[in-house]
């Protein structure tokens, strides 16, 4: 059952979350906290409220009961003292020799003076005649005593005491006191005979009135007293009752001797508590208004509500705070990941937040670093591979060229042109020395020019002086460093494409200079020139013909760019029937550790 309930709650809860379509951690944490807190607060709140309000109600009941018991105790004491007074007088009267006499009056006076609350003490004969009385009031001649209850009842029921309701004592002239009368049958000696009579003790009602008036139950509650017949003995709003503005539900009270119940009288719920006084059979009725008791409950309810609301607010703000604290580094991580997704690898996240998030960030940082390293490695490997290919290509120049050259030397030898053979072989030897140059890739400009010159010498011989050449260099550039064998492919290209099919004699000029802070080689010919599309393709595509050394112009260009970057490389200007000018831009490198050193090392590593 509870599982089903839980499942239902979970489903509905998730349903709410889904309907929001917000599944951020922050939202989920906040809402969960809120949900749990609300449940807890409602549960705790209602429990506390029920408990406290029950206690308050019980307390109100107990308080009312205690107050009424107190009143009862006081009334009891008061009535008992009356009773004792009457017992005492009864005794005196019984043993008095003959009544009336001075002694009895004196004794009665002592009692009267010792008790301020006693208004009158009087003894009447069974015919209703005043036998003795203090203070010595005159009995009204208009009153028929024998018709009055306090006189009749004790004579009829000698064993019982008679307590009257409060009334105005109208026996004596000029006296109109509110009293409670206690009367009992007494026996006294008259003319030597024992005769019956009635003892009357009038107590000032004021005492009871003051006793009860001070009592209040709550703000508006009060007590009242009824006698056994339901007549009101005391009521704080006696006058209102007299004139019928107020009523009490006496019928229902009469059904109870002791206890409490809640009645609805005059449109108001009241707690009625009843206690019966000894001797007189009076009933003390306590009236407390339920709305005051309920008012306390309401106050408690409000208080609990406020506390709950406050607690909820605090918990919600704490949960918002915690969830924000948790989700913030995650969001940051997410942002960083997006950047990585876009290709930025130079990101390092500040490692912050909770242990898990910190771990995550750390791992993420490690991952990005690793990716960065791998990327670099790949780039390097690719470059190295390229360079190695080029180196291999470089090596390929030699046999092809060598066969042709050797063929030419053989031909020259056959025709006994020993001078030329010497020139050719010398040039070839020099060419290879520089070409190999102990495996170095970087040589001086001087050596490069020497290599170009030897190549040109060999080619000029092979092409039977079909062209002339000139090498021009400023003295300051000769000791600068340069990648080797970059001029040769350009010159080869100039010969094969520019000079070879020329009718006139060709001319090739190689020059080296410093321009715009860069090293500039220029290879100029006066050959056929190139068409624009050929020119445009020259640096982008591999040449289709495999004629020549096979090392294309493009290779030279790429090699330079690989070594030195994109601002360097080849620049070709060509015009049909006019010739071609190839400019080779290189950085000025003076010492042994140029930028390209790293590449050189990598080359060696590969």
């Amino acid at each position: 059952m509870s599982q089903r309930l839980f499942k239902y709650l979970k489903n509905s809860f998730m349903g709410i979350i889904n309907s929001f379509r917000i599944k951020s951690i922050q939202f989920i944490i906040t809402v969960s906290f809120m949900f749990i807190t609300t449940l807890a607060m409602v549960f705790v709140g209602t429990t506390i409220y029920n408990r406290i309000s029950n206690l308050a109600e019980q307390n109100a009941f107990i308080n009312t009961r205690q107050i009424i018991d107190q009143v009862n105790l006081n009334l009891d004491y008061y009535l008992r003292s009356m009773l004792e007074t009457s017992n005492y007088l009864d005794n005196i009267i019984y043993y008095n020799e003959s009544i009336p006499n001075e002694k009895l009056t004196e004794q009665m006076n002592v009692v009267l003076n010792s008790r301020k609350d006693i208004v009158t003490l009087a003894v009447f004969s069974s015919e209703g005649e005043l036998v003795a009385g203090v203070p010595p009031f005159k009995v009204k001649n208009t009153v028929d005593i024998t018709e009055q209850d306090w006189f009749k009842v004790p004579l009829q029921e000698p064993a019982n005491l008679f307590f009257s309701s409060p009334h105005v004592q109208n026996l004596f002239e000029g006296q109109h006191n509110w009293v409670v009368s206690l009367s009992r049958q007494v026996t006294f000696n008259k003319d030597g005979k024992k005769v019956k009579g009635v003892l009357l003790v009038d107590m000032n009602f004021n005492v009871i009135d003051q006793l009860c008036q001070k009592v209040s139950l709550g703000k508006r509650g009060y007590i009242y007293i009824i006698d056994s017949k339901g007549n009101i003995v005391y009521h704080p709003q006696q006058q209102l009752i007299n004139i019928g503005l107020k009523r009490e539900n006496i019928e229902e009270v009469l059904e109870h001797v002791f206890g409490r119940y809640i009645d609805n009288f005059g449109g108001e719920e009241r707690l009625v508590t009843i206690q019966t006084v000894n001797y007189s059979r009076w009933r003390i009725v306590g009236i407390a208004y339920m709305d005051e008791i309920v008012g306390i409950k309401k106050d408690i309810g409000n208080y609990v509500l406020w506390i709950s609301a406050l607690g909820m607010l605090i918990v919600i703000s704490i949960s918002a705070f915690i969830s924000a604290k948790i989700s913030k580094p995650i969001k940051q991580l997410e942002k960083s990941m997006k950047l990585v997704e876009e290709g930025q690898f130079d990101i390092n996240i500040d490692v912050k937040g909770e242990a898990e998030v910190a771990q995550l960030s750390k791992t993420f940082n490690l991952m990005v670093t690793r990716i960065r390293q791998l990327m670099k490695q790949i780039v390097h490997e690719q470059e190295a591979k390229r360079i190695s290919e080029i180196n291999a290509l470089q090596a390929q120049i030699n046999p092809h060229f060598l066969y042709n050259t050797l063929d030419s030397i053989v031909w020259m030898a056959e025709h006994e042109k020993s001078e030329d053979v010497i020139t050719m072989v010398t040039a070839l030897a020099k060419l290879f020395r520089i070409s190999i140059s102990r495996g170095k890739n970087i040589i001086t400009v001087r050596e490069e020019l020497e290599h170009a010159k030897n190549y040109l010498v060999i080619q000029k011989k092979r092409y039977k002086n079909k062209f002339e050449f000139e090498i021009e260099a400023q003295g300051e550039v000769l000791d600068l460093k340069t990648p080797k064998l970059i001029l040769q492919p350009i010159i080869e290209n100039a010969i094969y494409h520019g000079i070879e099919y020329m009718v006139d004699k060709g001319f090739i000029k190689v020059s080296v200079s410093i321009a715009d802070g860069k090293l500039l080689y220029q290879v100029m010919d006066n050959g056929l020139g190139m068409e624009p599309e050929v020119l445009n393709n020259l640096l982008i595509n591999e040449p289709k013909s495999k004629k020549g050394s096979g090392v294309g112009v493009k290779n030279v260009h790429e090699r330079i760019q690989l070594y030195f970057g994109r601002e360097y490389g080849l620049q070709i200007e060509s015009e049909l029937e006019e010739g071609t000018n190839v400019k080779i831009w290189l950085p000025i490198v003076r010492d042994e550790n140029p930028e390209g050193l790293l590449h050189e090392k990598n080359d060696k590593a590969v």
């Binding site: 009334h167 004021n206 508006r220 704080p236 709003q237 006058q239 007299n242 503005l245 409000n302 704490i318």
Partner: protein, 324 residues
């Protein structure tokens, strides 16, 4: 992060403050919800006004309101009473209950209070303005009529009667007299032999009664229209040993009057219900504060008590409202 903590603290403080404010506010509401009603009577002395005051306090206790009681030192000091009313208006009491000394003099102050939205309840006698929420009065005309009927009854519906009223100007006195005359007129055999005004002076009443009795020895009964007049008349009849031959119809029930009733000099008295007046004035003042509809004029019944039935329990309570 620091920003978050700051924000959190701020939120917490705000909640705490709101909580505190709400707590103190609750207390305020509890304190101010107790209504304060100003009760200004003509005088503190005498059975009649004392009982009105008692009734008001009984109601205040029942309805849980505060009563601010004052009265002029001298019963006829109208200016003093106007001052007291103005002070109460300045204090912005929730309601005003007035037992006025004068029919006209207080109208201006009462209208001012009414304009300021302070409910005004007038007890015992009327005022010369309509700007009061309610008048709670003994129906003096009816009381007079009752006195007339009882008087006619006592003398066997024929004979001569004398009237001693207490004031010519007083509105209540006028009404009582009008009621009395209208009742007497129903009995053609009953004649008014003499009419005098004692101006609430017992000595004067005594003298007037003596004079009236000696000038008109055939008078069967005298009716006195308030307690002072009643005591004076009873004293005169007692001293002239005319008990039995001249009946006395009295108003109200002072101890003197009750003694004379015991002696058989006063045959019957009209008892008002001042306690009821005081009680209802507070009740209706509260109703007015709560903007409930109440009657403009509320009459409190008076009652006739005869010598024979004065010690019946219900009459005891009317005749002896004070517990001594």
């Amino acid at each position: 992060m620091r920003k978050m903590i700051k924000l959190f603290r701020l939120v917490f403080l705000t909640i705490f403050t709101v909580f505190l404010i709400s707590c103190t506010k609750n207390n305020d509401i509890n304190n101010t919800s107790r209504k304060n009603i100003s009760l200004i009577l003509r005088t503190s002395y005498g059975y009649h006004w004392g009982t009105i005051k008692m009734g008001a306090y009984a109601a205040a206790r029942e309805f849980n309101v505060d009563i601010d009681y004052t009265s002029p030192y001298d019963e006829d000091d109208v200016n003093e009473q106007i001052n007291l009313v103005n002070q109460a208006i300045e204090k912005k009491v929730d309601a005003l209950i007035l037992g006025v000394s004068d029919y006209e003099a207080l109208s201006e102050s009462i209208e001012r209070a009414y304009k300021q939205g302070i409910p005004v309840i007038v007890v015992d006698s009327e005022v010369d303005t309509e700007k009061v929420n309610s008048c709670i009065l003994t129906n003096n005309y009816e009381a007079g009529k009752k006195a007339g009927d009882v008087l006619a009854d006592i003398i066997g519906k024929e004979g001569k009667v004398g009237i001693i009223n207490y004031d010519k100007e007083d509105r209540n006195a006028q009404l009582r007299e009008e009621g009395l005359i209208s009742a007497i007129k129903k009995y053609p055999e009953v004649k008014v032999a003499a009419k005098e005004y004692c101006f609430s002076d017992m000595k004067q009443a005594y003298n007037l009664a003596k004079k009236m009795l000696s000038e008109n020895p055939d008078i069967d009964a005298i009716v006195a229209l308030n307690e002072v007049a009643s005591e004076g008349v009873a004293q005169a009849v007692d001293e002239m040993k005319l008990k039995g031959s001249v009946k006395v119809m009295a108003f109200n029930s002072t101890f003197q009057e009750i003694d004379y009733m015991d002696k058989g000099i006063i045959q019957a008295t009209i008892v008002q219900n001042p306690f009821n007046m005081g009680y209802l004035s507070v009740k209706y003042a509260l109703d007015s504060i709560e903007k409930k509809e109440i009657d403009k004029r509320i009459y409190i019944d008076s009652r006739v008590i005869y010598r024979d039935n004065m010690y019946l329990p219900e009459n005891q309570k009317l005749l002896f409202p004070f517990i001594k």
